[in-house]
């Protein structure tokens, strides 16, 4: 991809992906869902999850799955508020960019 994904946009995408699962979701699935949109390396994703967890936008908990404990991530109220803010910002930002491109004649 020619456009870089900044830290804020990456946070927003991860929050959005996690928020779609009411019961929470796990690292491997988050990676795959995020990869549907952007090419992000796995080594970048864990630090993002960890940081969002420390900022209390996500909470982690362990649930048993196939005889082992799997770490799940769930969005918090704070995370949901943050996500709403990101979404508004994105809609405004992306619509402006889209408008500029729509005026391009070539």
């Amino acid at each position: 991809m020619v456009f870089n994904t900044g830290a804020a946009l990456l946070d927003a995408i991860v929050l959005a992906v996690v928020s779609t699962e009411a019961e929470g979701t796990y690292g491997y699935k988050i990676t795959h869902d995020v990869r549907q949109a952007i090419a992000v390396s796995e080594s970048t994703l864990y630090p993002v999850l960890r940081r969002l967890q420390k900022e209390e936008c996500l909470e982690a908990y362990d649930r048993e799955f196939a005889g082992r404990n799997r770490r799940y991530y769930k969005i918090t109220d704070k995370g949901r508020a943050q996500l709403r803010l990101y979404r508004e910002e994105w809609i405004s930002y992306s619509s402006k960019i889209t408008r500029i491109f729509s005026e391009v004649k070539c």
């Binding site: 690292g27 796995e42 080594s43 630090p47």
Partner: protein
């Protein structure tokens, strides 16, 4: 990296993260163990390729904690610590040193077990002593040294422990303190004795022994010439 198996990857990652707080290490390890478990054996190779090297993964985790240590270069954020873990070097040095120490101990043990009895027998014969008598002398010599060292250490320990005990149980503290000083006194006495033993008598004994050995070998050589 493709040939690297899941377990190798994880143990290498664990090693690289050892500088982080315990909780961070555990969180990270849990995450990547989960990642491999969820990928399953059939996607292991793919997962390993996507993750890259353990060093890269560790670096991305550590960036959050060590930003002061590293610096931004044209290749991105870099920290000299990721380039070569200094731990390995230290471990190697340690091992060499330990080996040298063990070799020394081994030589000393060999000497005491095999050479010393022989020397004792020679000394015993040369001076007309019985072996038992020579042994007794040596045991006495070593014993004095050992007693000195032990009573010095015990004395110091007694004084220190006694001093602190004074605050909790004054009577017991005094007793231990007194015992400590007594042991120290014995230690100092032993010190003087050992100085005599090891400083004068032992060298004299060894000197006499070597002279005797010298005479003996000269005689033998003389005998061969005849």
């Amino acid at each position: 990296m493709l040939s690297m198996k899941r377990d190798e990857f994880l143990s290498e990652l664990e090693r690289l993260l050892s500088g982080l707080p315990q909780q961070e290490q555990e969180e990270t390890m849990q995450y990547y163990r989960d990642y491999f478990d969820d990928a399953g054996p059939e996607h292991e190779t793919e997962a390993l390729r996507e993750l890259g090297s353990p060093r890269k993964v560790a670096a991305a985790v550590m960036v959050q904690f060590e930003e002061e240590d590293g610096e931004f270069t044209e290749k991105g954020f870099a920290n000299p610590r990721w380039e070569e873990p200094p731990k390995e070097v230290i471990v190697v040095e340690d091992r060499e040193e330990r080996q040298r120490k063990w070799i020394k101990i081994g030589i000393a043990a060999f000497f005491v077990l095999f050479i010393l009895p022989g020397i004792l027998r020679i000394i015993g014969k040369l001076f007309g002593f019985s072996l038992n008598f020579a042994l007794a002398v040596v045991v006495l010599l070593i014993g004095i040294g050992v007693c000195t060292v032990v009573s010095m250490i015990a004395g110091v320990a007694g004084v220190v422990v006694g001093f602190f005990l004074l605050f909790w149980m004054p009577m017991r503290g005094l007793m231990v303190l007194g015992l400590g000083f007594t042991l120290l006194g014995i230690g100092f006495l032993g010190n003087v004795l050992s100085m005599r033993f090891y400083g004068k008598w032992l060298p004299a004994l060894l000197h006499a022994a070597s002279e005797q050995v010298g005479k003996l070998s000269r005689k033998r050589r003389g005998g061969a010439e005849e």
